[in-house]
C-alpha cells in the first residue's frame, strides 16, 4: 500500500485514530472546540458498522458510552471544558465500575463558558482531581496532529488494558491546527483488545481475575451474568460494606496505575544530555518550547526540553531526575501554572523552578519562552 498523506487538524486525526483503534460507539453532545470529533465520527462510524448518537447533554453522552462499553463496545465521547465538568460524576463511575472508554477533552479557555473558540491548558488539574473520592486517572497530551492520531489509539489501548476511562487531553490549538501526517497502515500500530473470559459462567467474577490489568472480563449479553455498580463492590461486582472488601477495591483502583508507572509514563526529551536549563512543557505549549529550545541552542545556550505525552500519572521520577541534573527548570504552559506545583513537588534538589505562563486565550510564543530562557541564563 502506498503512503497515505493527509492534511488533518488535531480533532480530525483524533476521530480517525478512534476508527483505527476499533471504536464502534460514540455518544456525546456538541461543544466548541471539540465538535469536529463528533461530526467526523457521525459520518465515519456507520460506515464501519458502528453507532453514533448525539445525546441530550454531556452527562447523557458519557452515560451512553459507559452503557455501550458494558455491553462490549469500544466507546468514546468528546467534549470541552464546561462539558467535561458535567461529565465528572460519571467519569468517577467509570473508574469505580472499571469500564473502559475514551474521553476527549479539547481544552478551551475558562473558567465557566470562558472563551469558547480560544485555547488553554487549564483543565489538567480537573482531569486528575475533578471527580470525588480517591482514584487515579490516565491522561494523554498530544503536541502534534500525528500524535493526536497515535495517542487516541494509545488511549483506547490503555482503556482496554487498565479497564478504565482514559482521557485524551487535547487543547484548542492542536485540535484546530492543520498539519501534514502520514496515516499509519492497518496493523502498523498495536491495537489491544482485552481478553474475554473462558471460565464457566458460574465461576465468573467480573473483578476477580486476580490481576488488576490484562485480565479477562465479560460483556453484557455474552452469557455471563454479572452486576455493575458505582457502589463499592466485591469481586463479583455486588455492593459491599465489608471493610476488607472496601480495602481490596480501593487498593485495586490505585495499584493498577501505581504498579505500572513505567509502562504508562511516556516522555520525549530533546537536548537533555548537557542541558543546564530545561523547559518542561506539553501539548501545544511544547511546540513553542521546542522552537525556543532550538533558537536558544543556536545562540549557544545549553537548554533542553522535557515533554511528557502522559500527563497523568505525572512522570514524577523522570522529572525528579532531570531536576537533579539541571540548574533551572522552566515550566511553560497555557494556564496560570497548573503544573508548576507538580514540578515543585518532584523537586528534591533545590533546583530553581520558573513558571512561563500565558492565559489570555492565545498561544504561548517561542519569543516569550526564549526570553525566559535568556533571563534564566543570566
Amino acid at each position: 500500500m502506498s503512503k497515505q498523506i493527509k492534511l488533518w487538524q488535531g480533532n480530525e486525526a483524533c476521530a480517525e485514530g478512534a476508527i483505527y483503534a476499533g471504536c464502534d460507539f460514540f455518544g456525546g453532545y456538541p461543544i466548541t472546540p471539540s465538535t469536529e470529533v463528533a461530526e467526523i465520527l457521525a459520518a465515519l462510524l456507520p460506515k464501519h458498522g458502528g453507532k453514533f448518537i448525539q445525546m441530550e447533554d454531556e452527562i447523557a453522552g458519557i452515560g451512553a458510552i459507559l452503557g455501550a462499553a458494558a455491553a462490549g463496545a469500544k466507546s468514546m465521547t468528546s467534549t470541552s471544558g464546561p462539558g467535561f465538568s458535567l461529565m465528572m460524576e460519571l467519569l468517577g463511575y467509570g473508574c469505580m465500575a472499571e469500564i473502559p472508554c475514551v474521553i476527549v477533552n479539547v481544552q478551551r479557555a475558562g473558567p465557566s463558558t470562558g472563551l469558547p473558540t480560544k485555547g488553554a491548558q487549564a483543565d489538567v488539574m480537573q482531569t486528575r482531581w475533578g471527580t470525588h473520592g480517591d482514584h487515579p486517572t490516565i491522561a494523554l497530551c498530544p503536541s502534534s496532529i500525528e500524535e493526536s492520531f497515535k495517542l487516541t489509539v494509545k488511549a483506547f489501548n490503555l482503556a482496554e488494558k487498565f479497564r478504565m476511562p482514559v482521557i485524551l487531553l487535547l487543547d484548542e490549538f492542536i485540535g484546530h491546527m492543520r498539519e501534514k501526517m502520514e496515516v499509519p497502515k492497518p496493523g502498523e500500530l498495536e491495537i489491544y483488545n482485552h481478553p474475554r473470559p473462558k471460565v464457566d459462567p458460574k465461576e465468573y467474577q467480573h473483578y476477580g481475575d486476580g490481576s488488576s490489568v490484562g485480565g479477562p472480563y465479560a460483556a453484557m449479553g455474552s452469557g455471563y451474568r454479572f452486576n455493575i455498580t458505582g457502589l463499592t463492590h466485591d469481586k463479583h461486582g455486588f455492593p459491599t460494606s465489608r471493610l476488607d472488601e472496601i480495602q481490596w477495591k480501593m487498593d485495586r483502583l490505585r495499584d493498577k496505575i501505581d504498579r505500572h508507572l513505567a509502562e504508562l509514563t511516556e516522555v520525549e526529551e530533546e537536548f537533555l544530555d548537557d542541558a543546564e536549563i530545561v523547559i518542561f512543557s506539553y501539548g501545544a505549549a511544547a511546540r513553542s518550547s521546542q522552537q525556543a529550545v532550538r533558537q536558544a541552542r543556536a545562540k549557544g545556550i545549553k537548554v533542553g526540553l522535557l515533554r511528557p505525552t502522559t500527563i497523568w500519572p505525572f512522570p514524577d521520577r523522570i522529572v525528579t531526575d532531570v531536576l537533579k541534573k539541571c540548574r533551572t527548570m522552566l515550566v511553560a504552559e497555557i494556564s496560570q501554572g497548573q503544573l508548576v506545583y507538580e514540578v515543585e513537588r518532584c523537586n528534591k534538589s533545590n533546583t530553581k523552578v520558573v513558571p512561563v505562563l500565558r492565559y489570555d486565550g492565545e498561544m504561548i510564543t517561542p519569543a516569550q519562552i526564549l526570553k525566559a530562557v535568556e533571563e534564566a541564563q543570566k
Binding site: D24, F25, G27, A43, P46, K47, G49, K51, I53, M55, E56, D57, I59, A60, G61, I62, G63, A64, I65, L66, G67, A68, A69, A70, A71, G72, A73, S75, E89, L90, Y93, A219, M220, G221, S222, G223, R225, F226, N227, I228, T229, G230, L231, F238, P239
Partner: protein, 273 residues
Amino acid sequence: MKIHPAYEMLRPGKKFPNVWCPGCGHGIVQGAIIRAVERLGINRDEVAMVSGIGCSSRMPVYVDFNSLHTAHGRALPFATGVKLHNPKLHVIVITGDGDALAIGGNHFIHAARRNMELTVILMNNNIYGMTGGQYSPTTPIGKKASTAPYGCAERDFDACALAVAAGAVFAARGTVYNAVELDKMIEKALTKKGFALVEALSPCPTLYGRLNKEGSAVKMLQTQKANTINLKAAEKLTPQELEGKVVTGVFHDGEAQPYTEVYQQIINKAQGR
C-alpha cells in the same frame, strides 16, 4: 418441596435480605417483572436490567439478569448505550419518581422522543425513600415530606402523560394493590418495540405514610385501592367526581419505528446498501 418459579431468577447468598422496608411495594413490582419475563420465555442472558439510584433502583442486585446499577438519574443514558450497541438485549430500566422525573427528567423525555426500545418501570412512591423522605416531583401538593414540613408547595408530574407527549409508544399506570393487572402491563410493555413506560404506584409506609399519617402498610394498600380508578370507569365520571382519584390503566398503546431500526437504516445508507 415445590420451588416457586421465580426463585431461580433471584440471586442467592448475601444479596438478601433486600433493602426494602416492611410494607414497601417494590417487592411486588419485582415479582411482576420476574413473572412477565418468565411468561414471555425471555432468556435471562438476553435481559439487561439498568437502574439509577434510590430504593427501587436496588433491584438489579436481587434479580439474576445482566445488571447495571448506575448513578442518580442516569439509568436511561446508560440503557440507551446498552441497547444501541447490542439491540438483541431486552433492556429493562428500573427507576423511581425522583430518579426518572427530577434529576433524570431530561433523559426521560429524550429517550421517549427517540423511541429507544426500553421497558421503563417507574416505581412511584411519591417520595425520596432512600434519602429519608424528601419531596419528589410526584409528591402531591400539600402533602408532607421531610423537606416539606408545611406541605409540598409544588405541583406534581404525571409521568404517563409526560411520556406520551414526548413520544413513548406505550404508557400505563398500575398499582401494587392490583398486582395481576400490573403483571399484564409489564408483560405488554416488554413486547413493545419502542419506549414503553409502566408507572407502578408503590406505597412507602416508612416515610410517606408516616409523615402524612396514612397508617399501616395494609391501610396504605386499602387507601391505594380506594383512591385509584380504572381509566374506563373514570371516563364515565365528571371532573368533580374524579377529584382526589388517581387514574390507572393503559393510556397509550401505539406503534412507531424504534430507534435501533432507524439507526440500522443509517448504517445501510452509509455503507451504500
